[in-house]
């Protein structure tokens, strides 16, 4: 049972439901032709990540990979601003410049989602250095996929974190696939946490079908990290659907998919809650309904939101008050305009 007991499990269930519903609505947004592009990576099947997020504290920071929606929601991000960003709208988290793969919310310590596999991993090392130098008791967490575990930069970052005893946690969401490549065709040793241990980290593997197990292990790892023993968590789960919106996963068979989708932390949590009489089906249905309403509203919000104005394109390349790039048309006017 999770250290926080049944109340915690109920909270985690709610978060996991909100994540799943959000992702379903992203899908809907796409089908309605309202997303900015099709590079949409849904995290259905990975909701147990909520157990990790729950053990983070105010002021902790994190980076995510391209499949970060669920993590943002679990850390408290606003679904309206997320959905707007996914639609490329002006009031999205990134003013319509980032999209699904680059959601960020500095207010929540979200240092940004990264579309470079492995790109955000080393940032937590630097965040850990900041905390250490300033005497803060915060942790920085890097979320990434099993595919990213083959990128060399992970080993550089793990070694630095271990060497300098930084308050850092590496969290590998092992959904078994990097695009069409199953982990056993990408890694010689698929026990990814063993590599982390060999690099000097505090490494564990947890079952992503069991959010309570995830939460418990994560609490241990996170506490140790906060005290200078950096950690590594592999969360074993399954990517329920395609890699991105347009991928139908023809490279894997239905039997495997059916089996994989059995590892469903949301379904398991629901069963346990009912089993333990923490909640009955009706109250959980009500909770699901609330999530649906919230996320429907986010879709409506995103569709109604305004696109960014063209001139916004030139903002935020450099800091406010610093030079902004000279627009091409202005440059052309200097060459070909009246003066000539």
């Amino acid at each position: 049972m999770a250290t926080g007991g049944n109340k915690l499990l109920l909270d985690l269930y709610r978060t996991m439901r909100r994540i799943r519903t959000f992702e379903e609505r992203v899908n809907e947004l796409f089908v309605r032709g309202e997303t900015a592009g099709s590079m949409l990576h849904m995290s259905i099947g990975e909701e147990a990540i909520s157990g990790v997020c729950e053990t983070m504290e105010q002021g902790d920071s994190f980076t995510t990979h391209h499949r970060g929606h669920g993590i943002f929601i679990a850390r408290g991000a606003d679904p309206n601003r997320m959905m707007s960003e996914i639609a490329g709208k002006a009031d999205g988290y990134c003013s319509g410049k980032g999209g699904s793969m680059h959601i960020a919310d500095m207010g929540l310590g979200a240092l940004g989602a990264n579309a470079i596999v492995g790109g955000g991993i080393p940032h937590v090392v630097g965040a850990g250095m900041s905390y250490r130098n300033r005497g803060l008791k915060n942790v920085s967490v890097a979320f990434f996929g099993d595919g990213a575990s083959q990128q060399g930069i992970l080993y550089e970052a793990m070694n630095m974190a271990a060497l300098w005893k930084l308050p850092v946690v590496f969290c590998c969401i092992n959904n078994q696939y990097g695009m069409g490549t199953r982990i056993d065709r990408a890694a010689a040793n698929t026990n990814l946490h063993e590599r982390a241990i060999a690099c000097g980290l505090n490494g564990v593997a947890v079952d992503g079908g069991d959010v309570e197990e995830v939460h418990e292990a994560s609490e241990r790892i996170m506490t140790a990290a906060r005290n200078g023993r950096p950690g590594f968590i592999t969360l074993t789960c399954y990517r329920f659907y395609g890699h991105a919106r347009l991928d139908k996963s023809p490279y894997r068979d239905e039997a495997e998919e059916a089996e994989g989708r059995k590892r469903d932390a949301l379904v398991n949590a629901r069963a346990r809650l009912i089993d333990r009489k923490t909640a009955d089906a009706a109250s959980l249905d009500a909770l699901d309904e609330a999530a649906a309403e919230e996320m429907n509203a986010a879709v409506a919000h995103a569709i109604a939101a305004l696109p960014p104005d063209q001139d916004s394109m030139f903002r935020d390349v450099y800091a406010e008050g610093e030079l902004r790039p000279r627009p091409l048309r202005e440059h052309l006017s200097m060459i070909l305009g009246e003066a000539r």
Binding site: C94, H102, G147, G152, V317, L332
Partner: protein, 334 residues
């Protein structure tokens, strides 16, 4: 064999198939090139034909992939390493620029690195800042590399075939917006020789020097210009470095006016090299300054409208051309 109509994507695939059938040392490696068939489908079906040793799905490890290709090329193979997006080049520039490009020189001519790095770039899919770039200028600044960017279906086939016969490392950059483009492919008839530019349209009033997808935007602009009585000559340079400059220099000497069109951000892009060369060598022939029409100096935004607005369009090229040749102020300056 006569010309057939096909797509840029299929022409690339055919080039790989023909090269692999002809030369057993050719093999493909990269992320998702096998079972997935390539992120943009170029290598679809090749695994079934050539097997796992010649169509190698790799882990996600770009520096290692390119590094392995370098080693394979040094030991008698001719690898085609696929970098899924040119945006990931930053992970590989050491292996590309310090290893592949310099080995022949650094080792006094003992070792060649006959590899092809296939990748694709450009905007058009709302891929945002890390999936939409045009980074050819990083490669053109590295002596020892050949940099090739095909615009047409026939070039997709022939330039890839030629790249696979080149004894030096070739950076072969496709455009994500061209894969579904249709055109003629004649396996017996290349558009032009390896390393040489091709004139895609003749004209007497202004020369447009360009490559990759911007060839098509420029050709469309040329049609608009023609309606206004301006005949643009469009030169597709195809092979950026080493550069066959004579052909476009001759064209500019004829027309007296030049525009360089690229999708990459303006500052320090390859457009600057083209512009500088034209100004250097055609100084006495130029009636007007060489004009660069290029991407805005910004990261690419995800919003489809902003993304489109950040790179040259046929309209922008045409309006600029009309301004240059006829002093007709464009919409934004009117």
């Amino acid at each position: 064999m006569a010309a057939i109509e096909t797509t840029y994507r299929d022409a690339l695939r055919q080039a790989l198939i023909d090269a692999m059938n002809e030369d057993p040392s050719v093999f493909i490696m990269g992320e998702e090139v096998g079972r997935y068939g390539g992120a943009y489908g170029v290598t679809k079906g090749l695994l079934e034909i050539f097997g796992e040793n010649r169509v190698v799905d790799t882990p996600i490890a770009e520096p290692g992939i390119i590094g392995a290709a370098v080693g394979a090329a040094m030991t008698g193979s001719r690898p085609v390493a696929e970098l899924m997006y040119v945006d990931f080049a930053g992970l590989t520039m050491d292996q590309v620029a310090n290893q592949a490009a310099k080995s022949r020189y650094m080792f006094g001519g003992q070792i060649g690195v006959p590899m092809v790095l296939r990748t694709q770039g450009g905007t058009g899919r709302s891929g945002a800042a890390q999936h939409s770039q045009s980074l050819e200028a990083w490669f053109t600044h590295v002596p020892g590399l050949r940099v090739v960017m095909p615009a047409t279906v026939n070039d997709a086939y022939h330039l890839l075939r030629m790249a696979l016969k080149c004894p030096d490392p070739v950076i072969f950059i496709e455009h994500k917006g061209l894969y579904v483009r249709k055109g003629e492919m004649d396996v017996a008839k290349p558009d032009g020789a390896w390393g040489k530019s091709v004139i895609r349209r003749e004209g007497s009033d202004v020369t447009i020097v360009t490559y990759s997808k911007m060839v098509h935007e420029s050709l469309a602009a040329a049609e608009t210009l023609a309606q206004e009585g301006v005949e643009a000559e469009v030169v597709d340079i195809r092979c950026l470095n080493p550069l066959d400059d004579e052909s476009f220099l001759a064209s500019v000497m004829k027309t007296g006016r030049a525009m360089v069109v690229t999708e990459a951000v303006l500052t320090s892009g390859f457009a600057a090299e083209l512009s500088a060369r034209i100004s250097e060598r055609c100084f006495d022939y130029l009636e007007e300054p060489v004009i660069r029409v290029a991407g805005e100096d910004i990261p690419i935004p995800v919003s489809p409208a902003l993304e489109r607005g950040s790179v040259p369009s046929a309209q922008l090229i045409a309006e600029t051309g009309l301004w240059l040749v006829k002093r007709v102020a464009p919409s934004w300056a009117a």
